[in-house]
Symmetry: C2
Subunit: 227 residues, 2 copies
């Protein structure tokens, strides 16, 4: 809304300062930070559950799970073996902001942490405007949502570095075309690292795990074997 622009700019610039402080703190500690964004129900929590179960013994992961209401996602992540899981209930707000993340991080002992996952509120619009100090945004869509989503929500795809296409086990059950969604995403952002996965069957996840371990190694300044 036009009336909102000045205050919105002020809020975003305050957010950016806090995000920069988070980024600096994480860089000093060599912690990789990923901000997961998607529509409701695309599979952010499922991807993290799988990642915890598979890499939980090899990577020390901290997880922040944001939701408008309920701590359901945080509880799912704890059940999946997450040792450091913190919920943020926004109580109506449509996105996480750097202030909310700062408050949580201030209370955590991050010694030995390899990766910080921030699971944002399920919303393909608003979270794109809020830097949380992450290294990268990871945008998910599921094959049941329609292959036009990158064109309809371009800001999110422009500001993401990684694109996870989930629920590939349901391909063929709708008119979603894998080639089309990748072409649409490429039109918006030619630099996306793309994964095609099913968090239900596990298909395609090996490449995601390998990529994640490589990114952790890069952050620590170790040359990863896979690259």
């Amino acid at each position: 809304m036009e009336e909102n622009v000045p205050i919105e700019k002020k809020v975003l610039s305050e957010n950016d300062k806090l995000a920069a402080a988070i980024r600096e703190m994480l860089a000093e500690r060599k912690i990789l930070a990923l901000n997961l964004v998607s529509s409701p129900g695309s599979g952010k929590t499922s991807l993290l559950e799988r990642t915890l179960k598979t890499l939980g013994d090899r990577l020390n992961m901290v997880l922040i799970a944001g939701d408008v209401q309920t701590e359901n996602d945080a509880q799912r992540l704890m059940r999946a073996g997450g040792r450091m899981v913190r919920p943020i209930v926004t109580g109506g707000a449509c996105h996480l902001d750097a202030k909310m993340v700062t408050r949580v991080l201030d209370d955590l002992d991050l010694t030995g942490t390899d990766v910080l996952f921030i699971e944002n509120v399920g919303n393909l619009v608003c979270p794109s405007s809020y830097d949380l100090g992450e290294d990268m945004k990871v945008v998910l869509i599921s094959t049941t949502e329609g292959d036009d989503k990158p064109l309809k929500y371009p800001a999110m795809f422009r500001r993401s570095s990684v694109f996870v296409i989930n629920k590939i086990d349901l391909l063929g059950q709708s008119d979603f075309e894998l080639a089309q969604v990748k072409e649409n995403a490429r039109q918006i952002n030619g630099n996306l690292t793309t994964f095609e996965v099913s968090c239900r069957t596990g298909e395609g996840l090996q490449a995601w795990y390998q990529w994640l371990e490589d990114q952790v190694a890069l952050k620590k300044g170790i040359r990863p074997t896979g690259l």
Copy 2:
């Protein structure tokens, strides 16, 4: 955000005034207005396509299709036979507001119109706060999104009158439980009129068409046959 509250209240109160004017204008003309809200890809456009094809000869429908970017949905609705279709491209805004709708309605000849459908931006959070002058909000979710959605996005379910569960042809392909999603929705709002449909196969849509025709008749002050 706390800093945002006073301006947000002002914006919402201005929005409410415009929405009240829309509601009054539509009441005078006895036009039923439905505001369709959901996540991206739940099937708002598909439901409207089906409705146009089935009831296009019997009901005079005006459709406003809101999107952050692209006029894809409006084009789909025109291809489905919509004679009065207007896009609203919000250019970043995460919801439609009453001012945008007023601008579109001011340019339309509504003579003979039975129903105004407003397809909101795909977002389960922000559109819940903006009254557009509608008679009812219709919230959709698809069976691939997870049955916990009413609990996680309670404002939208509290402010809706109708709940459409779409993609029932995909039941059994995930751990989505129909009984569970209905119980979760009932906990938030005991007065929801619920439809279980597949906009792909057409299953369950007959009840939606009948309900819609009955609502149009009620709005015109005619006692519908089906009630």
